[in-house]
Subunit: 531 residues, 2 copies
């Protein structure tokens, strides 16, 4: 398709500003056409106003019709064809195969949300029947269900330009719930964003959605994002990105005269604990698996394993050596953009000069600064070296990890207690190890959203039971996930109807249960109608 | 029981400070024994530290054992006997019958939470089974459920000294979820709080709970509350009270280096729309019901109906006159404390002098300022008078309401659009009215947490489907309720287990489903075990 570089507001291009920027191919430095325009304050306002105009018609559509819209998005995304993947590859330095995998994930989660709302039970319909004879007060008829909160602002991530951007689970869950969406495109892949937005618009048109249901805004400045979050017509926001960026917008959302929930996923350290049984039985496969996880997507995953802990021993030394061999054989690869590359380089230099750290290994091949390449690095320290410097508990985004040898189980627990909130924590061990290290598991459980046994945190399964969240700073609200069907809960609130006439109730609350959803009736779950 | 005036920290009295205060009987001005001590910073820290020490042993108790604890609380509260109700009556000016009704509600909601966790399905256990043969990547075993977040700070309300204070649904839902609780007692009824805390402590002892599971702190200053919310050992907080107080603590919670969710319920205007069909068919019963709702608890309900809208007509004039007659016959009554009484008096004066308002009626009997009495008042204006002054959309706490006559349905919609978030909105009408005023209902639905038909918002039903929440400023997070079993969701977060050995999983996720809970298995709800 022909990229315009405009905002897309309610299905129409808008190009008010003369301030422009371009995407660049991080591997070659080549700037890419076209010029993209910064959204102006009036364009932001127009997008939000259109979203509010679309809210009633959109939320009043039958759930089946909204499901059709989502299915149409999946089809239109596939219909973009190879040129979509090629544009993404050019803007990110990712191999086309990786872009294709992300597209597959988009199709999967979009259809999953379509299935979820077609089935309908997610609205958590509840009915408590009345009792007019109850003393001293008659019992009223009380019913409730989830309803959409209103237009939602979404901020895409740079590291998943397809799967956690315009077409991410944030967008799909918000649309599934009945909320119109205004997207702030990530400036590192604006062309990918415009193509994705075009697919959503076409799907909206095909399925008769109100045009304001979806708009796309561009911007390199913080102002565009802040103005969007501060707009009184925005009722919730979701974000994936850095801690600094997420916290700034979270603060803006909370400072509003009417605060709104701001759901940010801001990455984490994702510690891996290698317990003695595992170290003994399969050191090579763990080392191999670790290095594969470390380097996936050039280490630019929120779930990248940034810390590995084991008990000081010959087995640990030998595990470190095996890992070092694997790291040495890795290839440097291009990072997403100059900002990430420069932060990675600075972080590496600090670690190289850090008196408590030794460089365990780095890829033997040289990294090209011009091509924004990152060489995988693994550092090594002791438990004490780690504990002594709280900065070592912070995430460094990229293919880097820190190994720390502990004197005993208590040392491991001390490290676990000092961890900040994390999206995941991993344990390699035997079932006996798990039972023996129960206290460690108990501490980790309080620090994380996902516990993994004998695996690695990258490669998130998109399903009903997944939780991609965790205590701050992994996210701003540990109650919610940004991946999986539970993500829809961020964009709804319960609405309760007391003694409301049956004919005027939302379908899921009507006596006859015409949608056949699973409801809570006087405290028991059933699909029965109310007689 | 013998009141000590101390803090109660992990089952022990603590009296570090020499700064003291006393409760007063608002009806007589008489100060009540004993002196209560302000909590010191070290006492706040001791309570939170004890709560954290109690967290692991408490959350690891069987759900049945936590349910026994809750049942024991209900028993111990009843065992406090009449002296509990008498102390509450003395501290609040409420009739003993009202105190008894509140105690009944405590027993009901405490047992409801006990039943909820004994049944167990509330943890929303989800299982997605693995598929090792899936291409290109094997599918892992993924399971998740709700787990408690950690120690919770709770701020009781002045207006429900028993039912929304130490023994409120906030406390019971937090304890039910597995979170230890630190309560900031309301300084207007500290004796009630100490007696209630003693009942909780006795129940904790009887059922073998760790002593730090519950602590009580006193304080008249903002500092005690702020320090509690800012303590790094507090993981969530719940509050019922004023907008100013709630917002200040909400801001403190969000400013923390590690922000925590702060769930505040801050009252609202609770508008009532009287549509033409209702005005025609039963004006007297609506007027009577309205005045009963207006004066319940001396108008000191979060759900007090503060605004009434109707279409200008002879029927509306006559409805206003009937209401005025009923208001005239009401009796002034004692408010909860001098601060509330003084704010009510100031608010009344502003309304009396307001050029767009006329006084429709007030109770004919004189109110005694010495006894902190409030006389019920109803003011009247036009839709234009209302629209012209945004301050008239703010809640005035007490038995006062504002009637506004509208020129037509569009006027009503204009008012509805200008409403701030509200806990409830009420419509009196026929089913035909509802269908005709669909757009009004649609606007109201976006503004409120509970829609009531032909009833009044006071007298909240405590059940599974109730929602006592709503858009800001009714609450700080419209996703959550402070009343009803859904309230437990504020104090939990999902925790996900990937490829975790069955024997080490929480019971609700184990293959055999030993607790027999309803789970989501590969997307379908079932109590079946996993074979």
């Amino acid at each position: 398709m022909n990229l315009t570089g405009s905002q897309w507001i309610a299905g129409n291009p808008s190009s008010e500003s003369s301030e422009t920027f371009r995407a660049a191919n991080p591997a070659t430095g080549e700037t890419l056409d076209p010029e993209f325009r910064e959204a102006t304050a009036s364009e932001i306002d127009a997008a939000v106003t259109a979203a509010n105009a679309a809210f009633d018609p959109f939320r009043n559509k039958l759930a089946e019709t909204r499901a059709d819209f989502l299915e149409a998005i999946a089809e239109e995304v596939l219909a973009l064809g190879d040129s979509f993947l090629e544009r993404t590859a050019a803007e990110t330095g990712y191999p086309t195969a990786r872009c294709e995998a992300e597209r597959g994930r988009v199709v999967a989660h979009t259809r999953q949300f379509a299935d979820l709302i077609r089935e309908g039970s997610w609205v958590d319909a509840r009915i408590d029947l009345p009792d007019p004879t109850r003393k001293p007060m008659p019992k009223p008829d009380v019913r409730s269900l989830f309803q959409p909160v209103g237009p939602v602002a979404i901020f895409g991530a740079s590291n998943f330009p397809i799967a956690i951007s315009v077409l991410g689970a944030d967008t799909m869950s918000a649309l599934a719930s009945g909320c119109p969406v205004v997207i702030k495109a990530h400036p590192a892949h604006p062309g990918t964003c415009e193509m994705a937005a075009a697919a959503v618009h076409r799907a909206a048109q095909r399925t008769g959605m109100p045009s304001g249901v979806f708009s796309l805004l561009h911007g390199t400045s913080h102002e565009v994002g802040t103005q969007l979050v501060e707009h009184p017509g925005i009722f919730a926001a979701a974000f994936t990105g850095s801690l600094a960026g997420g916290r700034a917008l979270f603060d803006a959302a909370n400072r509003r005269p009417v605060p709104i929930p701001f759901y940010a996923e801001m990455g984490s350290v994702n510690p891996v604990f290698v317990l003695p049984g595992a170290l003994k039985s399969r050191p090579s496969s763990i080392a191999e698996g670790f290095v594969a996880a470390l380097t996936q997507g050039v280490g630019q995953f929120c779930t990248n394993p940034g810390m590995v802990l084991g008990l000081e021993s010959d087995a640990w030394n030998s595990f470190c050596e095996t890992t070092a061999e694997h790291v040495g054989k890795t290839e440097p690869a291009t990072m997403l953009h100059a900002g990430i590359h420069s932060a990675y380089r600075t972080g590496l230099e600090q670690r190289i000069e850090h008196e408590s750290l030794e460089l365990l290994a780095r890829s033997e091949a040289a990294a090209s600064d011009e091509a924004l390449e990152a060489a995988p690095h693994v550092f090594r320290t002791t438990q004490q070296g780690l504990i002594d410097d709280p900065a070592l508990f912070d995430e460094l985004f990229g293919p880097v990890s820190l190994f720390a040898g502990c004197g005993g189980p208590d040392d491991m627990i001390e490290v676990a207690e000092k961890l900040e909130g994390s999206l995941s924590a991993t344990i390699h061990g035997t079932e006996n190890d798990l039972a023996e290290y129960r206290e460690l598991v108990s501490v980790l459980q309080k620090k994380t959203g996902r516990l993994i046994f004998n695996g690695f945190p990258v490669g998130l399964e998109v399903c009903h039971s997944i939780h991609h969240g965790g205590p701050y700073p992994a996210t701003t609200h540990s109650r919610f996930t940004s991946v999986g069907t539970r993500g829809i809960e961020r964009f709804v609130r319960p609405v309760c109807y007391q003694d409301w006439p049956d004919s005027q109730l939302p379908m899921e609350l009507q006596n006859a249960n015409p949608r056949g959803v699973l409801r809570m009736l006087n405290g028991h779950r059933t699909r029965d109608e109310v007689s």
